[in-house]
Amino acid sequence: MGDQSNSPSSSIDSSSHPALCSTSSIFQTRRDLLSTDLKLGLGLSTSALHGCSSKEREQLSHWPPIKPLLRSTLEEKVHRSHSKTFFVKVYMEGLPIGRKLDLLSHNGYDSLMRTLRRMFRTTITCPDTSRVPPEKAHVLTYEDEEGDWMMVGDVPWEFFLRTVKRLKITRADKC
């Protein structure tokens, strides 16, 4: 999954290839298994990965031939491995020194926001709250794979984890 890009056009390509999974199936896959694959996917070179998540590949071909008990033990082990981390740089506008944050220690946007508010001692609003942000407030933005700066919170958490390169807290009136 790590070598699949996330733009909509690629999902059409991937769904026409029988060996790869369509993006719709990404959301159908069990959430925790998906996030585990991503956690692992972020830690290694793309050459080691094949088109599908482990669960779907297994259902496709039931290969390699290992018994269900061993398979479930390994999957559990993978879920349990807490040693994977994904640190990104976080800058706040106006502060030259940035911080580093482990995204994998959070399970969603709420958790991330809480941590950032604590780290930078400021109000950070999310795009899904419809209140007009006061002048002193900030919004959280991120730089994605393509180098574009985007508002945090629009895409599902797992998707976000795959594309985020760094974070920046900017003043609300700039957006």
């Binding site: 080691a48 482990s54 039931h62 290992i66 018994k67 033990t73 390994l74 082990k77 993978v78």
Partner: protein, 622 residues
């Protein structure tokens, strides 16, 4: 007086029976039964053990009728590939028909072993109340039952002696019974009217890799207080918690307990207090082997294991961390069998542990042991006979580990008694296979799984034909072989020609054409089981070798190039084969499909029972 050949009548039946009792192998007893009618009769009445490799090969009633005095039965159901989810869950292999027939015809049955069968709770209840002297129940890779069924088994385990005054009454009545009255029926009449419970001495309850539904948490408490005959208990496959204090009571009152394999749900502290009660254990399967470090727990674990003076076999060790493994170093020296295939610990700790086990004969381990680990094993475990190395990362998501062909080559060079190998790895060379073949011509089982299909020799980029050919040519006693990697028809030519003792062959993602399958089926004199997936094998080889299929137990082919027409022809030609076409896409019934319809999965087996009556919707007997 027996009529027949003069020499057969020279001795009374009991003498022949005694002679036959020295024949353990079924093949020998079968041969004896063909000599003359007298021997056939004597042999069938004296056969005590029956093995049915395919539950559909013979009708249960027929088997029970032929051998009326059986004490131990072993029956297998689903094809081997069911272990890897290739067989639909409703395919069959139900145990009811067999258990019902046995309950009626073999009331003295003592041992029952079922593998890959669907066993319901009703079946377990029937087993619990049908066999007076039941001693051993072994369920391997079965499903369909729950802990409620186990409770029924446990509840019927009563070991109580016959009341003496009633016994006396029985003896008197028997002695005055006239010749015409069946003495035995009189005895049973008395026993049942006196309402004496059946004598039960369950010694072994072995649940190995079954899928068990957990709906009766305290099933172990159903073992009566008077039950003390347990010798072996294996509950490793149960997922739920087991009441530790009840288990402790059970263990404490069973002085003959030799094997105890627990499930992973039990915390380490509870495991320790349990094991302390049974220092006589020979075979231990631990539960979860990790916990936060507590010096107290460490020393308790250490002293418990130091107390095991007779421990030979160790398994379980789920999720082992480096913290607690050193606590059990004391048993390493005496171990002959070590199963660490659920222990996902890294190489240094793994190595430290395994290299202390100098008397190891069987080692099952994760590939986390790496080549260095295997080199160390080759140097320290000189008595090693069986090695299995499992993949810790089968789907290739984590960084690759350093387990390659070098590890296996080192083992083949250092372990002179090695005869059985199962090895998962990601790369192989023909040269390595050649070296292994030359080092270990005594191999009887060689199963190599190169994880990525169609992987060639990574140095020469050639197919691995030469390597596997060397294996079959050098290892004359090879009985089981699994192939992998890039392979052409050439390897099948060698196998067909050289693998004369081969009984089971597993093939996946190999071959170029029908010629490959033809080489196998026209050679391999002793082939019993052939299982093939994702190979370009088709109709011609099957039809040209139709008669070979009746000499084998079974053939499985999935994702190959067989058409329905060939299956129809085969079924017509060979009435004593069941040709089962399995298609889970369903839709129209089989009859309406054309001859060129591609068959998704095919299972062919010889049988004297005709087509089975319990096929599910996705299976058609052609």
């Amino acid at each position: 007086m027996v009529r027949g050949f003069g020499w057969a009548a020279a001795f009374p039946d009991e003498v022949w029976e005694h002679v036959f009792s020295f024949l353990a192998a079924d093949a020998d007893r079968n041969a004896v039964a063909l000599v003359c009618r007298a021997w056939h009769r004597i042999e069938r009445r004296s056969r005590r053990r029956v093995f049915v490799g395919n539950c559909y090969a013979v009708a249960p009633a027929a088997a029970v009728r032929r051998f009326p005095e059986v004490r131990a039965a072993a029956i297998k159901g689903k094809p081997h590939f069911a272990d890897f989810n290739l067989v639909p869950t409703d395919w069959g292999g139900g145990a009811e028909a067999w258990v019902e027939a046995m309950a009626e015809g073999w009331p003295h049955l003592e041992e029952l072993r079922l593998k890959r069968m669907v066993v319901s709770d009703d079946c377990l209840e029937l087993i619990a109340r049908s066999f007076k002297n039941f001693g051993v129940l072994s369920l391997v890779s079965c499903d369909g039952f729950s802990t409620a069924g186990l409770a029924a088994i446990a509840a019927n385990c009563r070991s109580s002696p016959v009341h003496t005054s009633v016994g006396l009454e029985v003896a008197i009545l028997v002695s005055v019974a006239s010749e015409g009255v069946n003495e035995l029926s009189l005895v049973y009449l008395l026993l049942s009217s006196a309402d004496i419970p059946y004598l039960r001495n369950l010694r072994e309850l072995d649940l190995h890799e079954n899928e068990v539904e957990d709906n009766c948490l305290n099933w172990i408490s159903h073992f009566p207080e008077s039950f003390t005959s347990l010798v072996s208990l294996n509950i490793a496959c149960l997922e739920g918690d087991v009441n530790t204090s009840v288990l402790e009571c059970l263990i404490s009152r069973c002085p003959n307990l030799k094997t105890l394999r627990l499930n992973h749900a039990m915390p380490l502290e509870k495991l320790v207090s349990l094991l302390q009660r049974a220092p006589q254990l020979v075979d231990v399967g631990t539960s979860k082997f990790s916990a936060d470090h507590h010096p107290e727990l460490f020393s308790k674990l250490e002293s418990t294991f130091a107390g095991f003076k007779h421990l030979k076999s160790l398994s379980g060790i789920w999720e082992a961390g480096p913290t607690y493994l050193p606590a059990i170093y004391s048993v390493c020296e005496s171990l002959t069998s070590l199963n660490l295939c659920y222990a996902t610990i890294q190489s240094p700790e793994l190595l430290k542990f395994v290299s202390r086990c100098k008397n190891l004969q069987r080692l099952w381990v994760m590939d986390l042991i790496e080549d260095n680990g295997l080199i160390a094993v080759a140097a320290s475990c000189k008595l090693l006979q069986e090695l299995r190395v499992f993949p810790s990362d089968p789907y290739g998501v984590a960084p690759p580990i350093s387990l390659t062909e070098h590890g296996l080559v080192a083992i083949s060079a250092g372990c002179l008694m090695l005869h059985s190998v199962l090895y998962f790895c990601r790369q192989m060379t023909n040269a390595a296979l050649l070296t292994i073949a030359n080092n270990r011509p005594n191999l009887t089982c060689f199963r190599l799984c190169i994880i990525e299909p169609h992987t060639p020799d990574y140095i020469s980029q050639e197919p691995l034909d030469a390597g596997f050919s060397a294996i079959v040519e050098s290892c004359k006693d090879l009985r089981r072989l699994s192939l992998s990697g890039l392979l052409t028809d050439r390897v099948f030519k060698s196998i067909g020609a050289s693998a004369n003792r081969l009984e089971m062959l597993s093939v996946a993602f190999a071959g170029d054409s029908d010629a490959g399958l033809h080489y196998i089926l026209s050679g391999c004199k002793n082939l019993r089981k052939l299982e093939i997936r994702d190979c370009p094998f088709g109709d011609k080889a099957l039809l040209d070798n139709a008669s070979k299929l009746e000499t084998m137990r079974s053939l499985w082919m999935s994702s190959c190039s067989v058409t329905l027409g060939a299956c129809r022809q085969l079924a017509l030609k060979m009435p004593r084969l069941n040709v089962e076409v399995i298609d889970e896409r369903r839709g129209r019934p089989l009859e309406s499909w054309p001859d060129d319809f591609p068959v998704e999965k095919l299972y062919i087996y010889r049988t004297v029972a005709g087509p089975r009556s319990d096929t599910p919707p996705c299976v058609w007997t052609v």
